[in-house]
Amino acid sequence: MIYFDNSATTKAAPEVVDTYAKVSANYWGNPSSLHNFGEQAFNLLEQSRQQIADLIGAKLSEILFTSGGTEGDNWAIKGTAMAKREFGNHLITTAVEHPAVHNSMEQLKQLGFEVTYLPVDANGRVSADDLRAAIRPTTILVSTMAVNNEIGAVQPLAEIATVMRDFPKIHWHIDAVQGIGKGLADLIFNDRVDFVTFSGHKFHAPRGIGFMYKRQGRKIAPLMAGGGQERNLRSGTENLPAIAAMAKALRMLLTDEAAKVQRQREIRLAILHHIETFAHVTIFSKDLPVFAPHILCFAIEGVRGETIVHAFEEHNIYISTTSACSSKKHVESSTLQAMAIDEGIATSAVRISLDEHNTMAEAEEFNRVFDQLYQQFAKLR
């Protein structure tokens, strides 16, 4: 089996599952309990937090655990809206965000907040000038993704940081769910960003766990009220087995990151260079470094995306339409729509997404199957 759908989810690593099982079996005390058993769980929790902080160059107190990317995005956005609403009611984001961001914004709109969606260019990227022009005295939050989940576009975070430095009071949130372990750390953990959200299952940790970087001193309202865990910011008994497993997965992900990224780049290029030679192929995510090293989005004109997905599946190759979250809802890709791609071609879009374990042999196999399917698809046109 060739699994090229890593942006949807990744397979939990065996070592990570092992940690999950051992922690579940041996450290099941509640970290909030006063007795020694709880104390051990607390120590493991804090050591996991410290490891994650060290890996991304943050302070211990800047790492907060969540249930995943969706919660992180909701929290950064709604938590800011609640904490800063006396300073303004205007939020800025982009037209190509994940539904976790987009729909959070839409909910806030119904509560009276105003939202500006920045347009994107043909590569799916916003412009820093547009951002600057959109900022108002009442702006309290700017939320931008690091890497687009559908086409892999990397937002111009360095330019955005330059703009944001002129507005030090506005919260800046980056959704980095697709961006971790892809050689983009310098862009994401810049000196200006305030909140960054991550999801464990995108890097071989279990589902239902994630973390948020919160810059020291930045205020955010809790969404989960209760027992006061996570420094009173996110109540709920800590999911320690998943947290420890995530700390391990992150360490494994970021070990030899540069070499792993280079390999993904080469595999992606091998596929890209092969399929771009076909007349009826349109590639939406072409040039590095505008696009991330692990996502390739393309269309075979005249063939619906889901048809392509199922055809590859017959050959035991797993790819997806542009996003797993919308693939069953029969809606057109919002990113391609925002890029003003013709609807006829957008319905033909599919996405390949790699991880650090994919091989060049898999790319070659993919290319071989592609040739075969392309011939078959010719009959459909």
Partner: protein, 405 residues
């Protein structure tokens, strides 16, 4: 830049007259102890400076250790080169380039021990200054308060060039101020008071009261861990744990509620004094700050202090809590101190302790308990641990966790 030695300048020692020799000897001893884990270092404590010859050791790591040693005003890493004008010039230029930032000013400060050297200090200042000006674009000369003062010393055995001095910990070498006992609770204040005590050269033994099962093993481990943090200022600290359970229980039964706290404190102080006498220490330090809690009013202090004539030193007496917290953060004890374990001061705390206890009443109520017998029993149960910098007591599972993570 690969440094060959670190030149350490003494702090207040220069004012110490006849005792100066002892201070320097003690500082030399403390520096050697602090640097004992490095191989091949040479430490020479001379009358005006202390020199650490690196012999290839990691200069950054050595300097990091030196920063914690009291009695050091500042230090400069230096490079030893041949007494050859071109080599000296090249080194000065390289050093200025390393520190350079736009708009930077500098001056050269030459001293010549080797009077046979071909150039005098004025010529050297002039030539080296010119070489730096010509080779580091944008740098400017300034005689008063330059950003960078390049010190060049022409000694008999070579030329030594050093850049910006790095601030030391100040204070006096630990050990030169005699020995005292510190009452260490595990809260925020007492570690900070310990720090200030050691900074004045006092060698401290920690006395910690613990009351199992009312206080936990973790509370004890936390006090030890705090001691390990403080040990870096002195090389090692003796940790003396005194069992206090029975005394607390007895007082609770025999003394009116309003005086529980006062009598407890009187007993603690008596025990600290007894430990100090056993160990030939000459004073008691504690973390009291005037007006902070009920036991820290003047009236309370009078009622508690009544049990001894040994000096009680309170380095934090007039500090605000916010200032104390700031220092605790600086010396990296704060995060440990706020861990939520009950300590011996917080259990058995009456809801309304007397903020102005009466001395006579304190003495009277204390007659309800067998002071001598309780003291003997507690002192017989003392445990002493030698704690070194970096020792770990709280999270013994770290290695096991490291495997999991």
């Amino acid at each position: 830049m690969e440094y060959s030695e670190i030149m350490v300048r003494y702090g207040e020692l220069s004012t110490k007259g006849k005792n100066k020799k002892d201070f320097i000897k003690q500082l030399g001893h403390n520096v050697r102890k602090a640097l004992s884990s490095f191989e091949g270092l040479e430490v020479r404590a001379q009358h005006d400076r202390l020199h650490v010859t690196l012999n290839g050791a990691d200069s950054a790591a050595v300097m990091d250790r030196l920063k914690g040693v009291f009695g050091i005003e500042n230090f400069s890493p230096a490079v030893k080169v041949e007494k050859d004008l071109d080599t000296i010039k090249a080194t000065a230029i390289a050093m200025a380039k390393e520190d350079f930032h736009p708009g930077m000013t500098f001056k050269i400060n030459t001293r010549r021990q080797d009077k046979e050297f071909a150039y005098d200090t004025y010529q050297l200042n002039d030539m080296l200054g010119g070489a730096v000006l010509d080779n580091v674009p944008g740098i400017q000369v300034q005689m008063k308060h330059p950003d960078l003062e390049l010190r060049v010393e022409i000694r008999m055995n070579g030329a030594f060039i050093s850049g910006q001095p790095i601030q030391g910990a100040g204070g006096l070498p630990v050990g030169t101020g005699g020995k005292a006992v510190m009452m260490l609770s595990g809260g925020i204040d007492s570690p900070v008071a310990s720090y200030y005590g050691m900074r004045r050269g006092v060698k401290l033994d920690m006395v910690h009261f613990f009351s199992p099962p009312y206080t936990s093993e973790q509370a004890l481990a936390k006090a030890k861990e705090l001691t390990a943090k403080l040990a870096k200022y002195s090389g090692g600290i003796q940790f003396i744990q005194v069992p206090f359970t029975k005394i607390q229980e007895t007082i609770k039964e025999a003394v009116p509620e309003g005086y529980l706290m006062t009598i407890q404190r009187r007993m603690m102080l008596r025990l600290a004094v007894a430990v100090a006498e056993m160990r030939h220490a000459k004073g008691i330090f504690n973390g009291e700050s005037l007006g902070q809690v009920a036991s820290q009013t003047l009236e309370s202090m009078a009622a508690i202090n009544d049990v001894t004539s040994m000096p009680i030193l309170r380095p934090l007496l007039s500090m605000d809590k916010t200032e104390i917290i700031k220092v605790a953060k600086d010396i990296d004890t704060y995060e440990l101190s706020i861990l939520p374990y009950e300590d011996c001061c917080t259990i058995f705390t009456p809801p309304a302790p007397k903020t102005r206890p009466d001395l006579e009443k304190s003495r009277k109520f204390e007659k309800n308990i067998d002071v001598e017998g309780l003291m003997k029993e507690a002192l017989d149960g003392i445990t002493i641990t030698e704690i070194r910098p970096g020792d770990n007591f709280l999270n013994q599972n770290e290695d096991v966790f490291a495997e999991l993570l």
